[in-house]
């Protein structure tokens, strides 16, 4: 059979959820439970279809399939909308649809009591469809469009509980901060449009231009474009310095954090860089920037994660730092590593969030200091969560280990310092995960907490994800580079390095061990550091005061400027207008004062004015 059979119908994948969204918004409140099912079924359908596509592409070498239509035609210029199916997009399709489906399923239980459940599922459906659109889009413009749409969906879902002031603030923050990134992307897009030969924006041409006719775009411009695009990625993927929105975004319902702020949307930044990687490769400056930002974010966020007490925030910072890893991978040129880590991270981080959700669902708090001993009461959650933590901490043979290993290897042979940084970050990762796990599940249970295991709709996704988190690492190990070949046939083979494997495994285990000593055995006092260097701890706990810094640096000045301009508008610009008006009426009053009723004054004014007239006009001639 023709092996692009399913690929030609790839556009259906985003369509299913979109239809669900349309139906749900149209029906609105009418259908409560059914609404939820509509969403779930839609996501299931797209899952099935994308699995078909994947199967099709796995069986033998199927050619890439793409399809375009003119969106706007102006004179010679054409703006095109289109989709293409490559192995890369297929991979993303599978990941997105899978996680989306599981989250849908999970939310059936999690959101049961919420009266706006159908709205919730509508939003989720809209997000899924635009995320899939983003994955499939074959040119930067279409990509940008969906890029913005996913942003809006994230905004809507973060602010889903709109009556909570924090949710409102978080939603606003999420939108505006990512918007800064979008600004960069948009300008980069415009630049690219004017510099690309033939104003083409699709990735294939982009690839060819940088591949074959190098120098078509000067290095300076390339660097500029690359950096601008990277700004976009930084915004979406919560890289330093635009990471501030992601932790706050945890105000949204937990399934959303799992879907959008762990597995899919935040990874879009990485995906963007992968898509436009040719531009980055052409500019060393850009590459270095990406690498440094990534590495710094990885360790920076990890440290913050150590000092948080909100279960979801810890996971959020861990997401930030893991995304840092992916950026680092890209920066050191290992696209495979980045995609691989994205792939595995999607599973275990989604798992962790859903697990956290299940915990929160039963104990109704997010503060880990108020939890404890839940391991006995919620067996499945505990076990799956544990597996997830191991994967995240990079303990062999769990998936996280392999993907992280790929990155570390690449980092080592490119830039040892980055490697060291990454390793330290890995240690911290293991440490805060240990802290989190032991505080929540180990120890003796709090009295007054009747936690119980969540319903099966919530636990089944946990189990599925746990399995994936465990095994998904084996698609790409130093011993078989299958994923790399599949994704990038001409991509570089990543070489095995025993040293790296040993080191990363060691730091992971070390971190877990110290965590165990501290939070279970108690041989190390919990507040050992906070006693010695309280300043340091608060500094970390307050996230290095970044938010406050931004408030002072940007928000305040802008408000000030606004106020000043407001006054300027009122008193200067409008003032001039008013002044003219008053001037005119003042003249009017002057006129009526001149008409004081004295006929002789009238005559006198007349006489004087005629004299002036004569002097002025006739005078010119004689003198």
């Amino acid at each position: 059979m023709d092996n692009t059979f399913f690929a030609e119908y790839a556009w259906l994948v985003p369509l299913f959820p979109f239809i669900a969204f349309a139906v749900l918004t149209a029906m609105g409140k009418g259908l409560k439970k059914t609404g939820a099912w509509i969403g779930t079924i839609a996501s299931f359908l797209s899952l099935v279809l994308s699995l078909c596509i994947a199967g099709e592409r796995l069986s033998g070498n199927a050619p890439d399939y793409g399809n375009q239509m003119d969106w706007i035609t102006i004179g010679k210029l054409k703006l095109v909308a289109g989709f293409e199916v490559t192995n890369l997009s297929t991979l993303m399709l599978v990941v997105v649809t899978l996680v989306a489906f599981l989250v849908n399923l999970y939310s059936q239980g999690y959101m049961k009591k919420d009266e706006r459940i159908s709205t919730f599922f509508a939003y989720v459906a809209l997000f899924t469809s635009s995320m899939l659109g983003l994955v499939l889009s074959d040119n930067l413009l279409t990509f940008y469009i969906f890029w913005e749409l996913v942003g809006v969906c994230s905004f809507l879902l973060v602010g889903f509980w709109y009556q909570k002031p924090e949710a409102k603030a978080a939603a606003k923050k999420a939108f505006i901060v990512t918007r800064i990134g979008d600004l960069g992307l948009l300008i980069g897009l415009l630049l690219l449009f004017w510099y690309m030969p033939g104003h083409a924006l699709d990735f294939t041409t982009l690839h060819n231009v940088y591949d074959t006719q190098s120098g078509a775009i000067s290095t300076g411009i390339t660097t500029l474009i690359a950096l601008l695009i990277f700004v976009g990625a930084v915004g979406k993927s919560g890289q330093f310095p635009l990471h501030v929105w992601l932790p706050d975004a945890m105000e949204g319902p937990t399934p959303i954090s799992a879907l959008i702020h762990a597995a899919t949307m935040v990874a879009a930044g990485v995906f963007l860089v992968v898509r436009t990687f040719d531009i980055f490769e052409a500019s060393q400056v850009a590459m270095n920037t990406v690498a440094i930002v990534g590495a710094f974010t990885a360790i920076f966020a990890a440290t913050i994660g150590l000092a948080q007490n909100d279960i979801k925030r810890i996971l959020a910072y861990s997401t930030v730092s893991q995304l840092g890893y992916m950026m680092l991978a890209l920066g050191v040129g290992s696209v495979t590593g980045a995609m691989f880590h994205l792939f595995t991270h999607a599973f275990f981080k989604a798992l962790l969030f859903l697990g956290a959700g299940s915990v929160i669902h039963s104990v109704h708090t997010q503060d880990i200091r108020e939890m404890g001993g839940l391991g006995r009461k919620m067996k499945i959650t505990a076990w799956t969560f544990g597996l997830g933590s191991l994967a995240l901490s990079g303990i062999p043979p769990f998936s996280g280990f392999w993907s992280k290993d790929a990155i570390l290897t690449a980092a080592l042979d490119k830039q040892p310092i980055l490697f060291v940084v990454a390793v330290i970050a890995a240690f911290f990762t293991a440490l805060y995960m240990a802290r989190l796990f032991f505080l929540v599940f180990a120890g003796k249970p709090r009295e007054g907490q009747h936690a119980k295991e969540s319903s099966s709709v919530m636990t089944i996704p946990l189990i599925v994800l746990a399995v994936l988190a465990t095994v998904s690492g084996f698609v790409e190990t130093p011993f078989n580079g299958w994923l790399g070949h599949w994704l990038f046939p001409e991509g570089a083979e990543h070489d095995a390095s025993g040293l790296v494997m040993v080191v990363s495994a060691a730091v992971g285990l070390l971190g877990l061990y110290i965590g165990w000593l501290t939070f279970v055995k108690g041989t190390i006092r919990r507040n050992a550091i906070s006693d010695r260097a309280p300043g340091l701890v608060t500094l970390v706990a307050r996230k290095y005061y970044i938010d406050e810094l931004y408030h002072v640096l940007f928000v305040r000045p802008l408000q000030g400027l606004g106020k000043v301009l407001d006054l300027f508008d009122d008193y200067v610009i409008d003032g001039v207008v008013r002044l003219t008006g008053h001037g005119a009426s003042a003249l009017g009053r002057l006129n009526s004062r001149l008409q004081g009723g004295q006929v002789q004054t009238y005559a006198l004014t007349a006489l004087i004015s005629i004299v002036i007239l004569v002097v002025a006009i006739a005078g010119r001639r004689f003198w």
Binding site: S592, Q595, Q600, A603, L607
Partner: protein
Amino acid sequence: MSMLSSYLTLAAVLFCIGLYGVLTKRNAIIVLLSIELMLNAVNLNLIAFSKYGVQPSLAGQIFSLFTISVAAAEAAVGIAVLIVLYRGRASVNVDEFDELRG
């Protein structure tokens, strides 16, 4: 020509006196008289021109006749109005005629 110029000067002086009177005198009757003075200055002009002008002609004198009669009519009306006004105000002081203003 000297004749002419002297007449013209006289007329000019008369005119100015009349104008001055109109502008400064407080008594309404004097004001009206001053107007007559100005008109007379005009008559003087006309007649001087018609006798000593560049192109002497009779028209000037006819003109002056008309002017005189018209001036008379105007004065008559002026005085009549003034009488009505005096009935109302019991005064002929121009300064007090300032109810209409602004």
